[in-house]
Symmetry: C2
Subunit: 281 residues, 2 copies
């Protein structure tokens, strides 16, 4: 397996690259963006995964979040995967809606036709891509953290809760904390997994915590002016699940911030510091 | 004259907004992006103009440069105008080329048909927009700085050299230092101003300096891996003109950096510090 360079540029003394590779998990070409900090010239560096939200590709976080500055200072690699398989033969939502199909993989392994063939983002992110990065980039896979935004916050939380040994740190920006309890999630999980809600629980951070999953601690930032706050994101559900289970959670409600990358940019330094504290010690 | 809010979001404790207004200079609706730092709640703040390059709108700098973080710390307003008039009735390059017409106003007042009617970016930026900002936003117009990228670096240098009393600070990222001596510039100035090269000198930083224009000092960053370095940008021409004229210039050649916003993001903090030193003292 190899990573083909689509583009690369020097950035804060490191390298910001977009790679492409043939994925066996999804059966498609997949792209990802990787920031390699200057410290990687001297040996493997810790890895922070960023999973993006609905409609995004590997590019949004890479050009909009301003994360490279501090990643270059701290010596952390940033890996931003795409949000779904793409390309010829990959089915999309019948109405081309933004919240299902292309750009909306929800980080699941689909079991329903016609999605099951290509929509295998869980296997891609849990198995194939870590192995590929480990074998091709100067990444220290014993020091991984994960974060994400919205649908990607859901991805980060659920992947970390299912694989606590893999990650030293987890955080999220405005995550979908319980896809089982919001319209975006119900549409996606019904479509990809079918109507049996017991199968959904592996893809719901609150349900995973109820079912016993634990990580050392979680940082979540949520803007109070986020237009999806009460209908889709519902941080109070995560707060309740963590309180009941004794799962440590730092939930910060950020007054006046919306769902945009201006919100992410405003707090990315806090998240990088949170991860660095756990990845670099 | 009023600024209509197209969108706004909280960002680093301040506000990132996109505004629209009817421009008398261009005879079109014009958009601009403005970051208002939190300090503006307590009184007018200094203004840093950022002029963008070919193909850009008011959005590129706003979402890609990561400038708001330090602007919020320093208490500086960021104003990013569009790069040309747009809309129904505004002519474009016959071949829809990226380097003339829409997105390529070159910060001139065109005198040739059919461009002269709408392509009046000089008047827009030197007269109309400063007056509009002064009357509608918490901006201290006695403390203005200007910077820009590529075509916008050309804009920043030439506007500052023509109006040294207006600006306390000027810098540029990979500017077109002499449009009279590169293909982008020759095409644009021929198109907008006609074949008489004496009329071009007001729009050429090197010619302005040769003709006696001076500013206190200039900061320029230029990436060594910029694919336009030798054909279009030619920083050595500015270096020579400044040396001959005794115009102070800090020209930094940044090893390995290209023409992208990853280059701008890497050095925007240095430029903000340069401007703040001159705007805040």
């Amino acid at each position: 397996m190899t990573l083909e360079i689509v583009s690369q540029a020097k950035c804060f003394g490191g390298t910001q690259a977009t790679y492409q590779h043939a994925s066996t998990a999804t059966g498609t070409a997949m792209r990802l963006a990787v920031f390699t900090p200057p410290q990687a010239a001297h040996g493997p560096v810790p890895v922070l995964w960023f999973l993006s939200g609905l409609t995004c590709t590997e590019e949004n976080f890479t050009v909009k979040a301003g994360a490279q500055r501090l990643a270059a200072e701290l010596g952390v690699m940033l890996v931003a995967p795409d949000t779904s398989p793409r390309g010829e033969g990959v089915p999309d939502d019948a109405d081309k809606a933004y919240d299902f199909g292309l750009g909306a993989g929800f980080y699941v392994d689909a079991t329903e036709a016609p999605w099951a063939q290509h929509y295998r983002m869980r296997t891609y992110l849990e198995q194939e891509l870590p192995a590929l990065i480990s074998s091709t980039l100067p990444a220290d896979m014993t020091r991984q953290g994960i974060t994400g935004h919205s649908m990607g916050g859901h991805g980060a939380l659920t992947i970390a809760l299912r694989s606590p040994a893999r990650f030293r740190s987890v955080s999220a920006f405005a995550p979908i904390v319980s896809p089982m309890n919001c319209p975006w999630g119900e549409k996606a999980l019904t479509g990809y997994l079918g109507p049996d809600r017991t199968a959904w629980r592996a893809y719901d951070a609150c349900a995973l915590i109820e079912d016993g999953a634990r990580v050392p601690d979680i940082l979540v930032d949520q803007g109070s002016a986020d237009s999806f706050l009460t209908t889709q994101l519902k941080p109070e559900l995560l707060e309740a699940a963590c309180a009941t289970a004794g799962q440590p959670l730092t939930l910060r409600r950020q007054d006046g911030y919306d769902h945009s990358y201006f919100f992410i940019a405003s707090f990315i330094a806090d998240h990088l510091a949170w991860h660095a504290e756990r990845l670099l010690r």
